[in-house]
Symmetry: C3
Subunit: 141 residues, 3 copies
């Protein structure tokens, strides 16, 4: 009667072990999400400097970087953004740059008002929560 | 002689498995703590917008939200706060809104100076540390 | 034939259990990293107030605290910093205060321009990422 119970425990331990190894590997890979929520071009440039330093220091292929712009920070990703060229450059270097659709709606913006090659998420704040819960570091420049 | 040792290991694995399941469940539930530390009503409104979007996007019953106001951010929770009505509304929707007692002392404020229905923690920064260590996401608008 | 396999599983469970206990212990110790990235002496003072409150509330020997100054925040750690005395006091109380060398290079600063007793990291942002991945709480005052 005890055998099957032990067997379940052993299988459970194996599944558990594998899950932890996978979780550990996912955690070990460097990942960082940057929040841009200020209407301040100096902050936008600082964020882009930070990203550039992270890629330089860790190796662009060793780290996953995402930038989430929302609220007053959305201006960073508008067509007329003073950092438009730098954003395009970051995207070309593998940075995921995302805009918050809630903010677009609130500010009556459409995708045609925004820089090309960026991505969209329904809610910037929820994206920042999710990334942290998936083990990403969070930087708010 | 080996039997009892295995038995302890099996029991250990069971306890471990259950703990991890509980920890996993606690982690899986969405939780987010917002920091308010600027004396800037625009930031207070942004924080309240963020909270509203999180509840809308995830479902108010699916996410635990706490706001910690401290330092220059304490003005958000004073009686004369320009966002008093919105704070009361957030509390009525299940948001935990807490003020830092260290800040009250430093600014010679008493609870009678503050909005009703908010909660208090001895130290806002320690609260923000604790929540993160319990798996809460951290957003600093 | 099954015996050795079970034995490996048991040993695996033991190793796993020990690793988790160690990881749990490391996590349980309170650790917090503060980011200073604004050129704003009020923020520098707020950060130093926060640190002082954390040490007071948790006990200076119960919590590890690090401050990372980078970008526009580097002024906090320059020789002529208006908070020089408070920084020296924090260092004397066991706080690790670190400056970002990328920022020094960008602003053409050398170590002789900086406060004594502080430490250096190659990249402030990478330091903030690493600490978070090691389970440190992150506070951006």
């Amino acid at each position: 009667m005890t055998r099957p119970r032990y067997s379940i425990l052993r299988r459970g331990a194996l599944v558990l072990g594998c899950s932890l190894l996978l979780a550990g590997a996912a955690w070990a890979q460097e990942k960082v999400v940057f929040q841009v929520s200020d209407a301040d071009p100096a902050k936008w440039n600082l964020t882009l400097n930070n990203i550039s330093n992270v890629q330089k220091d860790l190796g662009a292929d060793k780290v996953q970087i995402e930038v989430v712009a929302y609220g007053p920070g959305i201006g960073m990703l508008k067509l007329e953004s003073p950092v438009a060229t730098r954003v395009a450059d970051a995207v070309s270097k593998g940075i995921q740059v995302v805009a918050c659709e809630n903010t677009l709606t609130a500010q009556k913006l459409v995708r045609a008002d925004m820089l090309a090659n960026i991505s969209y998420v329904p809610a910037g704040v929820v994206e920042l929560m999710r990334k942290q819960q998936q083990g990403w570091a969070y930087i708010r420049p």
